[in-house]
C-alpha cells in the first residue's frame, strides 16, 4: 500500500469560508444568484454572469458526470486523474477522479463527491458513483 497522498490545506478567506466550514460537515456548497438564477463554482460574492451581489449558498447533491479527464501517468506525487465534473446543479468543477481504475473511466460517467483530508478542511474529489 502506498501512503495516502498529502493534499494542501485550504487557506480560506472571508468570501470562501462558508464553503470550507460546510466541507468539514461533508456538505458540498455552491453559489446561486438570486437575481439571474444561475449557479456557479468556485464561489464568488458577486455573480460572474450578471454581477449581482445577491448570491446565496446552496447545497449541491455532490453528484454529476465526467465532462472530460486526463490520466497523468507520472508526477512527483505519482499518477492521478484530473477532470472536470459537471454537477447536477449545473456548474462544472475541476477535480480529481479517485479510488478508481483510470483505464475504465469515460466521459459522461456518473460520479459523486468524496472528501479527502488535509491538515484543515477536507477537499472535494470525485469517484465513480
Amino acid at each position: 500500500m502506498t501512503e495516502a497522498k498529502k493534499y494542501p490545506t485550504p487557506q480560506g478567506n472571508p468570501e470562501s469560508q462558508p464553503f470550507w466550514d460546510a466541507a468539514k460537515e461533508g456538505k458540498f456548497l455552491i453559489k446561486r444568484c438570486k437575481s439571474c438564477g444561475e449557479a456557479h463554482f468556485f464561489p464568488r460574492a458577486i455573480c460572474p454572469f450578471c454581477f449581482s451581489d445577491n448570491t446565496e449558498w446552496e447545497q449541491s447533491s455532490g453528484e454529476g458526470e465526467i465532462y472530460t479527464y486526463s490520466h497523468m501517468r507520472k508526477s512527483a506525487t505519482g499518477p492521478y486523474v484530473i477532470a472536470y465534473v459537471t454537477l447536477k446543479e449545473g456548474p462544472s468543477v475541476q477535480t480529481n477522479i479517485v479510488d478508481c481504475d483510470p483505464a475504465t473511466l469515460k466521459i459522461g460517467q456518473k460520479v459523486k463527491v468524496v472528501w479527502k483530508p488535509t491538515d484543515g478542511a477536507p477537499l472535494p474529489f470525485f469517484t465513480p458513483a
Partner: protein
C-alpha cells in the same frame, strides 16, 4: 481607429542556445535585445519603448535598469506564452499614438537549467491547486473532449508533430532534428491521456527579441519591410463553470478581430506560425481562427497538409516548439520570429514559402483547459 500598417517589425533575433547553464537569465535578455537591435541596425540608445512579461527577472524595474534603457513607454502585460504576440499589438498601439517610436520586446529564460517559479494563482487557488493541473493534463483534457465530440484521433494529432519534424531537419539549432512518422508518435510513451510524449513540445533554455517601430524608421533601415496589419487578443476561463466547453479557445475571438482589422481571411495566409505547446493546441487553434470548421481540424492537419512544399498551409517552418525550441515554456516570440523570416525570405531554402507576402502568428498562453489568453497577429511584407 486601427493599428493597421502603423507599426513595422524592423529587427528580430532568436538565441541559438537551447541549454544555457553558463549564462544568467537577465544576460540572455540582454543578448537577444542586442541581437534584435543589430539586426535592425539600431542601438540600445534608440530604444524608447520596452516590453517584457513574466519571464523577465523582477519585471520592468530591474530589467530597464539592467539593460540601461530610458523608455518613455513601458508594458509588462503577462499572459504566458502569447505575451509577446500581445506585446506586438500593444507596441503598435503605442507607436500609432506617438507614445514611443522604437519598441524593444524581450523573452528569455532557462527552464532546462533550473526550476521554474510556480505559476501565480488567483481566487481559485484553494479550489484547484490540490488537483494538479499542469500543461500536460490541462491540454490532455482538451484533447480528450475534442476526440469525444468530434472524433478527432491520435493519428491526426500525430500529423502535426510529423510536419514539424519535416521542417526541423533543416534547422541547425533545432533540439529534435529527426524526421518522425505517425507511428513514432503513437508509439511514444503516454504522458497524460490522450497525449503522447511526441505530442508535447520540448523544454529549452533560450529566448528571442524583436524591434517594433514606425513606418518611417523602418523604411530608413536596411531590412525587408514587414508590418503588422491586424491584431487581436482575448481571454477564456471556466467562468463559474457554466456551459464548460474545452473544445474551443479564446482564439475564436482574437482571430476574427485580427483578420477583420487586416481586411484579409485565413485563406489568404501563405504561412502560419501557430503556437504548438502540444499537437492539440495547433489543431484547436487552426479551427478557432478559421482555417477550417470546428471539429474538422483533424482532417485538415492530416496527410502532410502543414508541411512546407507539400500541403496547403505551411506551418512552423523552424520546427516550432514541438521540435526546435520553446524558450521559457513560452512559444509566442518564436512564432513571430519565424513568420518574419518567412516574410523577409530568410527562412531555410528547403522550407521557404515562395512569394510569402502574408503570414499569421498566433498563440495562446496559460492553460488551454483552465484559464488562458490568445493573441493573433497578421503580418504583411510590403
Amino acid at each position: 481607429m486601427s493599428i493597421k500598417g502603423k507599426a513595422y517589425i524592423a529587427g528580430i533575433y532568436e538565441h541559438p542556445t537551447r541549454h544555457a547553464p553558463d549564462k544568467s537569465t537577465a544576460q540572455l535578455h540582454a543578448e537577444v535585445a542586442k541581437g534584435a537591435l543589430e539586426d535592425a541596425g539600431l542601438t540600445h540608445k534608440d530604444v524608447d519603448g520596452y516590453f517584457c512579461a513574466g519571464d523577465a527577472p523582477g519585471g520592468l524595474w530591474p530589467m530597464v535598469d539592467y539593460l540601461g534603457l530610458k523608455p518613455r513607454h513601458i508594458d509588462s502585460t503577462e499572459t504566458g506564452g502569447c505575451s509577446y504576440i500581445i506585446a506586438l499589438g500593444h507596441a503598435a498601439q503605442a507607436i500609432a499614438l506617438g507614445k514611443c517610436s522604437i519598441a524593444l520586446v524581450t523573452l528569455a529564460g532557462k527552464p532546462r537549467t533550473g526550476a521554474m517559479p510556480p505559476r501565480a494563482q488567483g481566487a481559485e487557488a484553494d479550489f484547484e491547486t490540490a488537483f494538479g493541473a499542469t500543461t500536460h493534463n490541462a491540454y490532455g483534457m482538451c484533447a480528450m473532449r475534442h476526440m469525444h465530440d468530434y472524433g478527432t484521433t491520435s493519428e491526426q494529432l500525430a500529423w502535426i508533430k510529423v510536419a514539424a519534424s519535416h521542417h526541423a531537419q533543416y534547422n541547425p539549432h533545432a533540439m529534435l532534428k529527426d524526421v518522425v512518422t505517425v507511428e513514432d508518435v503513437l508509439n511514444s510513451p503516454m504522458i497524460s491521456d490522450p497525449l503522447h510524449r511526441m505530442d508535447c513540445c520540448v523544454v529549452s533554455d533560450g529566448g528571442g527579441a524583436m524591434i517594433v517601430t514606425t513606418p518611417e524608421i523602418a523604411k530608413s533601415l536596411k531590412k525587408p519591410l514587414v508590418r503588422l496589419i491586424g491584431h487581436g487578443e482575448a481571454m477564456k476561463g471556466p467562468r463559474g463553470g457554466k456551459d464548460l466547453d474545452l473544445t474551443y479557445s479564446a482564439g475564436v475571438w482574437s482571430g476574427p478581430r485580427a483578420f477583420e482589422e487586416a481586411g484579409v481571411t485565413p485563406q489568404d495566409m501563405k504561412y502560419a506560425s501557430i503556437y504548438d505547446s502540444f499537437t492539440i493546441t495547433v489543431l484547436m487553434q487552426l479551427e478557432d481562427i478559421g482555417f477550417c470548421k470546428k471539429g474538422e481540424g483533424g482532417k485538415f492537419v492530416a496527410d502532410g497538409n502543414l508541411i512546407s512544399g507539400v500541403g496547403k498551409l505551411p506551418f512552423n517552418t523552424d520546427g516550432g516548439g514541438l521540435c526546435s525550441n520553446h524558450p521559457v515554456n513560452r512559444g509566442g516570440m518564436t512564432k513571430i520570429l519565424e513568420a518574419v523570416r518567412q516574410l523577409r525570405g530568410e527562412a531555410h531554402p528547403k522550407v521557404q514559402v515562395p512569394n510569402c507576402d502574408l503570414a499569421i502568428a498566433h498563440g495562446t498562453g496559460g492553460l488551454l483547459g483552465v484559464r488562458h489568453a490568445a493573441s493573433t497577429a497578421i503580418l504583411e511584407r510590403v
